[in-house]
């Protein structure tokens, strides 16, 4: 086992369950994107080579790489979903608005930064400060994004739950 392999196995590979949780929070769990994002993140870290030795906080570094990767995936996904405007959600999907799946569809209609913080809050139960650490935003910015996102979700819910 060479030095790179050893440091990767001891410092970064054990982080993958935690990264998966964050990836699910950012991307949702409706598709296999979270799993792909974690794998892609690990490959990027592995390919960084000697940079792995100079990283003082492996988890923070891995989360930063993961966020970048996940946002790229969201951007690739977003153009297709732009067609899926709120008005296009079929009435059949209104059958269970109490479900997490329905809420996930609503969240996907938000701007990307709002999607990320709302998911981390709503589905992972993280506080604003914890979200700030993961997203590398200030707590004030996180609260603002949360506020806008939650209000937009409520607006969309009102449209479907109380037509």
């Amino acid at each position: 086992m060479n030095r790179l392999e050893k440091i990767f196995k001891t410092r970064f590979l054990p982080l993958h369950p935690r990264l998966f949780s964050i990836a699910v929070a950012i991307l949702g769990d409706a598709t296999g994107d979270a799993s792909d994002a974690v794998q892609e993140t690990m490959v990027k870290i592995w390919k960084s080579g000697d940079t792995m030795f100079s990283v003082k906080r492996p988890e923070a570094y891995a989360i930063t790489v993961l966020r970048s990767t996940a946002i790229d995936i969201l951007r690739r996904r977003h153009p297709a979903e732009a067609l899926e405007k709120a008005d296009n959600i079929s009435s059949g999907e209104l059958s269970d608005p109490d479900s997490a799946e329905f809420m996930e569809r609503i969240i996907r209609l938000l701007p990307l930064p709002q999607q990320e913080v709302v998911r981390l809050s709503a589905f992972q139960g993280l506080s604003s400060d914890e979200i700030a650490v993961i997203t590398n935003l200030s707590s004030g910015n996180v609260r603002q994004l949360l506020s806008r996102g939650r209000k937009k979700i409520r607006e969309l819910y009102n449209k479907y739950v109380q037509p």
């Binding site: 990767f8 998966f20 699910v24 490959v43 139960g125």
Partner: protein, 222 residues
């Protein structure tokens, strides 16, 4: 918790300033209460949806995929490169061994002599003091290969001392050249051996049947 307190907490929630415990209180209220004001039905759906969310299980093969895509892949690539390098090195060593063993053997009168070129400008690490039976340039050796074979019988057979005729062959083109010559010599030797076997058979025939041998000899001479 009365409805006014719930409305107050909801305002804090939508302002992004609610604490974890306040969000927990809202969740308990909306999940556990069936009769709520009509203007709060959307809020109830939102909190119930959040509460119903279950963390998806991590794919069991995720770690295996990560390993395969990172150092697992690297190890396989490394093994393939080592295998290729070792195979190439073994092939070169084999060719060199065949070539060198030929040039270090003491020649017999029947063994064809081949002039081995001397590298006029040897590369680093090659001794300038290497001696050879005949000093010709490498290019000349390649160009005059057929001529060397034709003039072989006219050249005096030189006494070859194995130690003095040994030299290191570093040029890959020369190695190929030497190898091809070895194959040519082996081919010629094989032809001679076949002829020798035929002559031996004829000699046995003469000894075993002297009378018939005259006829055979006549026929052969014809």
């Amino acid at each position: 918790m009365n409805i006014d307190e719930i409305r107050l907490l909801l305002d804090r929630y939508y302002d992004g300033t609610a604490t974890d415990s306040e969000i927990d209180a809202l969740t308990r209220y909306f999940v556990g209460t069936h009769r709520i004001p009509a203007d709060m039905r959307a809020d109830q759906a939102i909190f119930r949806a959040m509460a119903s969310h279950s963390q998806p299980g991590m794919p069991t093969d995720l770690q295996r995929k990560i390993v395969a895509a990172t150092y697992g892949d690297s190890s396989r690539t490394l093994r393939r490169r080592w295998t290729f390098a070792l195979t190439a090195a073994a092939t070169i060593l084999l060719v060199l061994a065949i070539g060198l063993s030929y040039f270090t053997e003491k020649p017999t009168p029947d063994t064809p002599q081949i002039a081995v070129s001397t590298v006029r400008n040897p590369g680093p690490g090659v001794s300038q003091e290497i001696s050879c039976p005949q000093e010709v340039s490498h290019a000349d050796t390649i160009k005059t290969l057929p001529k060397i074979h034709r003039e072989r019988k006219e050249e005096p057979v030189m006494e070859m001392n194995p130690s003095s005729n040994f030299r290191e062959v570093t040029d890959s083109a020369e190695v190929v050249e030497i190898t091809s010559r070895i194959f040519a010599i082996l081919d010629k030797s094989l032809s001679k051996t076949e002829a020798g076997v035929k002559q031996t058979e004829m000699a046995f025939a003469l000894l075993s049947d002297p009378l018939g041998a005259n006829e055979t000899d006549d026929n052969h001479n014809k």
